[in-house]
C-alpha cells in the first residue's frame, strides 16, 4: 500500500481459510473449519455467546493463537508461516481496558511498536502527539502520564492510539469497550466510527453486545459454538431476516426499533405543514388549517425557522401570533436517526415532530405513523447485498485480485462501502468472495441513491452511498466468472 496517495495506509482484506483450532488432544475443536473473508476497509463484528470461539478466531488473525490447520491470508499474502512477532507489529491490537503497560508512560506505550520498527525518536514523538490528538486527548497533558493516572475511557483511547501507532492496515479489537461505563462506551464507539471514517482500516472487533455490533459493524458475523458461522451479513439484513432462532434470540427484543438506527429522517416521507407567519392574524391561519383539514400550524420566522406549533384550539384563543421561539418545540434534524426522532416525539407526546434542516430551516413534519411505515419498509427491503463468505463447510472461495488495490481507490472517494452495492448472490455460495467484495472502485459503481424502494439506503454516512437494488456493480464486471446475482 506504499503507493497510496493518502498518507495513512488503509485496510487490507483478510481471508481466514479453512482454519481449525484444537486445544490439547480435545475432540471438539474450538474453531472448526472456519472460512471467513473480511473485506478491506470495513468493520466486521464477531458476536456470539461466550466460549463460541470468536475470540480464538480473532487471535488467530494475528497468530497470538496459532491455527492447528488452515491458512491465513492478509492482503493477498499468506501469513500462516511468517514470523508471528513481525506479523503482529503490522496488525493493531486493542484489548479490554486498553492493555497498557502500567510501567510505561502514555507516550512510551504508544511508541512501543514504532520503536520496535526502528523509527527515530523525533518521528516517534511526533507520531505520539498526532495520535493523542486523533483520540481526543491533549498531548501536553497526557503524554507523560502513567496508565494508572488515566480514567478507564482515557486508557482505552490510548490503547486505540497505540494500536494505530505504526499505521497498520488491520486493527483487531477484543471486546474493546467492555470495561467502561455505558456513557463512556457510547462516546468511544462514536469516536471509533469517526476515526474509521477518516482512516478506513480493516477492523475486526469481538463483542458480546449485539447493539454495539449493530452500531459499529459494516458486517456482523454471528458465531455459535466451535466458531460456527450462523449468519454473516449486514446489520440491517440480520435484524430484518435473522437466519434462525439462535440469531433471533441473540438479537433480543426490539429488532424493529434497532433498525431505526439505520434510517435517517431525511430518507422518509415528511408531510408538509400548514405554515403561518407571526405577522398574520390567528384567524387567517386557523382558516388555512381548517381548509387543509389539519390540526396544527407551524409558525415560522422570516428565515423559515419554526417559532411555535399551534393547534386549532390555541389559534382560536389567540389574538396575536407569538413572535418569540417556543423552546419546547419537538424538533428533529434531517440528519437524526429515526430512533432519535421517535424519542423526541414520545417525549413531546405530540405524536409528531417538526423537521428542520440546515440553519434550523423548516423542512416538514414527521409522525409516528411515518416511523412505523419505515420500520415495515426496512423489514421488507433490508439490503440484499452479497455478503462476504463465512462458513464452516470448508468451501474455499477462489481468491483472485484480493482487494489490495481496492482500498486505494476508495481512500480518496471517502467511501469504503464498495461491498455494499446491490449484489446479492446468496451468502456462502461459491462467488469469488474475497476478490469481488472489495475490488471495485467505490464511487464509480455507486449509483445516485433513492431510485430504489429502500428509503434508508446510504444513510449511514460512513458507509457512503450504498446503492440500489440490481445495480450492476463494478465488482461483477471485474469478475466475469462470478455467478451473476441479478441482472
Amino acid at each position: 500500500m506504499s503507493e497510496n496517495t493518502d498518507k495513512s495506509s488503509t485496510g487490507a482484506a483478510i481471508l481466514i481459510e479453512n482454519v481449525t483450532k484444537r486445544y490439547g488432544g480435545g475432540k471438539k475443536p474450538a474453531v472448526d473449519q472456519l472460512t471467513l473473508e473480511i473485506p478491506a476497509g470495513q468493520i466486521v463484528m464477531f458476536v456470539g455467546p461466550s466460549g463460541c470461539g470468536k475470540t480464538t478466531t480473532l487471535k488467530m488473525i494475528n497468530r497470538l493463537i496459532e491455527p492447528t490447520e488452515g491458512r491465513l491470508i492478509i492482503n493477498g499474502e499468506d501469513v500462516t508461516d511468517i514470523n508471528g512477532d513481525k506479523l503482529r507489529r503490522k496488525i493493531g491490537y486493542v484489548i479490554q481496558a486498553g492493555g497498557l503497560l502500567p510501567h510505561l508512560t502514555v507516550a512510551a506505550n504508544i511508541g512501543l511498536v514504532p520503536k520496535m520498527l526502528g523509527w527515530d525518536k523525533s518521528r516517534i514523538a511526533e507520531r505520539v502527539d498526532e495520535l493523542l490528538d486523533l483520540v481526543s486527548l491533549d498531548a501536553d497533558t497526557y503524554r507523560d502520564r502513567y496508565p494508572k493516572e488515566l480514567s478507564g475511557g482515557q486508557q482505552q483511547r490510548v490503547g486505540v492510539a497505540r494500536a494505530l501507532a505504526a499505521d497498520p492496515p488491520v486493527l483487531l479489537m477484543d471486546e474493546p469497550f467492555g470495561a467502561v461505563d455505558p456513557i463512556t462506551r457510547q462516546r468511544l464507539q462514536d469516536e471509533l466510527i469517526n476515526i474509521q471514517a477518516e482512516l478506513h482500516k480493516t477492523i475486526v472487533c469481538v463483542t458480546h453486545d449485539f447493539d454495539e455490533a449493530v452500531k459499529l459493524g459494516d458486517w456482523i458475523a454471528v458465531f455459535d459454538e466451535g466458531a460456527r458461522i450462523v449468519q454473516y451479513d449486514t446489520p440491517e439484513q440480520i435484524l430484518a431476516n435473522p437466519a434462525n432462532e439462535f440469531v433471533e434470540n441473540f438479537i433480543g427484543s426490539g429488532a424493529g426499533l434497532k433498525q431505526l438506527n439505520f434510517a435517517r429522517v431525511k430518507d422518509v416521507d415528511m408531510r408538509p405543514g400548514v405554515i403561518g407567519r407571526p405577522e398574520q392574524k390567528p384567524a387567517e391561519v386557523l382558516e388555512l388549517v381548517t381548509l387543509a383539514e389539519r390540526r396544527n400550524a407551524v409558525i415560522l420566522d422570516q428565515r423559515d425557522r419554526p417559532l411555535a406549533w399551534l393547534s386549532r384550539e390555541q389559534l382560536k384563543r389567540m389574538t396575536e401570533l407569538p413572535k418569540t421561539r417556543d423552546e419546547n418545540l419537538p424538533l428533529v434534524s434531517t440528519g437524526s436517526t429515526l430512533n432519535d426522532a421517535l424519542d423526541s416525539m414520545l417525549q413531546a407526546s405530540t405524536g409528531s415532530a417538526i423537521v428542520v434542516g440546515n440553519r434550523d430551516q423548516f423542512q416538514g413534519l414527521i409522525s409516528v405513523e411515518t416511523v412505523m411505515n419505515a420500520i415495515r419498509e426496512l423489514r421488507e427491503n433490508a439490503s440484499r447485498q452479497q455478503a462476504p463468505v463465512g462458513n464452516n463447510t470448508g468451501e474455499i472461495p477462489r481468491v483472485n485480485g484480493h482487494g489490495d488495490d481496492a482500498a486505494e481507490d476508495e481512500a480518496g472517494a471517502g467511501s469504503h462501502a464498495a461491498v455494499r452495492t446491490g449484489r446479492h448472490a446468496a451468502p456462502g455460495d461459491q462467488a469469488p468472495s474475497a476478490g469481488g467484495s472489495a475490488a471495485e472502485p467505490a464511487s464509480a459503481s455507486a449509483e445516485p441513491e433513492t431510485t430504489s424502494g429502500t428509503p434508508w439506503a446510504g444513510t449511514r454516512p460512513e458507509q457512503g452511498s450504498s446503492a440500489a437494488d440490481g445495480t450492476p456493480s463494478g465488482g461483477a464486471a471485474e469478475n466475469p466468472d462470478r455467478p451473476e446475482g441479478r441482472p
Binding site: R88, G99, L100, L104, V113, Y146
Partner: protein, 213 residues
C-alpha cells in the same frame, strides 16, 4: 569496649568492609541466579510449587552444617563461604521472583505479545519490570538474612566479621572476649541496616512511577 574498638578500629572497619562486600556480591549473584531459576519455573504450576518447596526447605538447613560439609570438596577460604551465602540468599529471592512473575497480569502480557513483542522482549521489558518491586522485597529479606549467615564464613577462614564473633566465643571469659563478640554482632546489625537502606533507595530509583504504590 571503647578501648577494644579504639585499638582495633582499622581492622574492624576492614573486616566490616569485607563482610559488606561479600554479602553485596553474593546478593547480586543470588539475584541473577534466582531470576534465571524463576524464569524457568513460573510458567509451570508444578515447577512453581517445586521452587517454593525448595526455597522453604532450604531455609531450614543450618548454615553451620552446610558450610562444614562444603569444606570437604572446596577446602577453606572464600569459595565455600560464597557458596553458602549465595545459596541462602537465592531462596527468598527465588520465592518472590516466582510470585512476582506469576502475578503479572495475563492481559498485560497478551497485550505486549499482541503488539509484536517477542517472548524474550516481553520478559525483559514487561514481566521483569513489573515483578521488580516484589523481587526487590525478596532481595531485602535476603540481605538481612545473609548478613548474619556471612558470619559463619569465618568458620572456613573466610572474610568478614565472623572472626570477631568466633574468636570471642572460643575464649569466652578471657580478656576482651565479650567485647569481641559484641563488636562482631553490632557491626553486622549496622551493616544490615545500611544495606537495607541502600536497597530501599535503589528500589525507589529503579521502580517505574507507574507501578509505585
Amino acid at each position: 569496649m571503647s578501648s577494644f574498638f579504639a585499638e582495633r578500629w582499622e581492622q574492624i572497619l576492614s573486616a566490616s568492609w569485607q563482610h559488606f562486600s561479600l554479602v553485596v556480591q553474593c546478593l547480586i549473584l543470588a539475584t541473577v541466579i534466582a531470576i534465571l531459576l524463576a524464569a524457568l519455573c513460573y510458567r509451570s504450576r508444578g515447577l512453581t510449587s517445586l521452587a517454593n518447596n525448595v526455597s522453604a526447605i532450604g531455609l531450614t538447613i543450618p548454615s553451620f552444617a552446610l558450610i562444614g560439609l562444603l569444606i570437604i570438596p572446596f577446602g577453606f577460604g572464600v569459595v565455600p563461604a560464597v557458596i553458602v551465602v549465595v545459596f541462602f540468599a537465592v531462596l527468598p529471592i527465588l520465592r518472590n521472583a516466582v510470585v512476582g512473575l506469576a502475578g503479572v497480569d495475563a492481559s498485560t502480557i497478551e497485550a505486549a505479545r499482541g503488539i509484536g513483542m517477542s517472548r524474550a522482549k516481553t520478559f525483559f521489558r514487561v514481566e521483569l519490570p513489573l515483578a521488580w518491586p516484589v523481587i526487590l522485597a525478596g532481595m531485602r529479606v535476603s540481605a538481612q538474612m545473609t548478613m548474619g549467615i556471612a558470619a559463619v564464613a569465618a568458620y572456613v577462614l573466610g572474610p568478614g566479621l565472623g572472626s570477631y564473633i568466633f574468636s570471642g566465643l572460643s575464649r569466652l571469659g578471657g580478656a576482651n572476649s565479650l567485647e569481641s563478640v559484641a563488636v562482631g554482632v553490632i557491626a553486622v546489625v549496622i551493616l544490615a541496616q545500611i544495606l537495607d537502606a541502600a536497597l530501599l533507595i535503589i528500589g525507589r530509583l529503579t521502580t517505574s512511577r507507574g507501578i509505585r504504590v
